[in-house]
């Protein structure tokens, strides 16, 4: 079914998605959008792993993707809880407000 698609297509697509995630992390000031861009980067890596797994006929890569999903879910839960407690203290999710460690 997939032999008509060269693997370079998947390499290019996942690289591009990863770079969009990086640009989003650098571009936005809202901490929730930054977390979403981190999710985007994780998904780009997942897509790359699945494509290598499919083209090399080995399902180890799909197991790795499963574990990445586990870690991503845990990360989002803890990150959003942190954001809620930050919002309670400073009434904002702007990352420029959170510069107290700068001294």
């Amino acid at each position: 079914m997939i032999e008509t698609i060269p693997q370079h297509g998947y390499l290019l697509l996942s690289t591009f998605l990863f770079c969009i995630g990086v640009i989003g992390v650098l571009f936005r000031r809202n901490a929730i959008i930054i977390l979403m861009c981190v999710e985007l980067m994780l998904n780009a890596v997942n897509l790359l792993l699945v494509s290598f797994s499919a083209y090399s006929q080995n399902s180890d890569g799909q197991v790795f993707v499963f574990f990445i999903m586990v870690v991503a879910a845990a990360e989002v839960a803890v990150g959003l809880a942190l954001l809620v407690s930050i919002y309670r203290n400073v009434m904002s999710t702007d990352i420029n407000v959170l510069s107290k460690l700068k001294g």
Partner: protein
């Protein structure tokens, strides 16, 4: 046929990912991210990873994005008066992302990835094969990830709990 489907899904996922970054309202970003995750699930189905496609839809679109939507609504962020970084920093962000893209593409062109151009078997993505791998070779990481989930759950509850004073 499959090729056109791939190009359609790729264009959709790139456009929705760009809209996640550049849309003004946080709620729209969340909804475009849901679209992006569905197109990535479509890519998994094209790549014969049916189990992962279903798990991806359930975990991302069903659990993670609901969490994001819940927090955006709870914190009442659905307004357009978000402060932006100044123009120089935004320009530098786009330029550095583009440079990263160029570097990765150049590194990819100089490596030999064509060793894997076999036509893939269709059954490596089934629940049976992935589950066999998961419960024989990877059984220790699988159990450790359950401990990770438990600690993440406890941590999230403790962090989001309101202080009494």
């Amino acid at each position: 046929m499959t090729q056109y489907l791939f190009y359609l899904l790729a264009a959709l996922s790139v456009i929705s990912a760009l809209l996640v970054v550049f849309s003004k309202v946080p709620m729209y970003s969340v909804l475009w991210l849901v679209v992006c995750f569905f197109t990535i699930a479509g890519h998994y189905i094209i790549l014969n990873a049916q189990f992962l496609a279903i798990v991806h839809i359930i975990v991302y679109a069903g659990a993670i994005m609901v969490l994001f939507l819940f927090v955006v609504m709870l914190l009442n962020l659905n307004k357009e008066n978000e402060q932006h970084k100044n123009n120089w920093i935004r320009f530098a962000a786009v330029v550095s992302g583009g440079i990263l893209f160029l570097t990765l593409i150049a590194a990819m062109r100089s490596t030999e990835v064509l060793a894997y151009n076999l036509p893939p078997k269709s059954e490596i993505g089934f629940v049976q094969n992935v589950g066999m791998k998961l419960f024989t070779d990877f059984v220790l990481p699988f159990e450790i990830s359950s401990i990770l989930f438990l600690s993440a759950m406890i941590g999230a509850v403790v962090l989001a709990k309101k202080d009494k004073n």
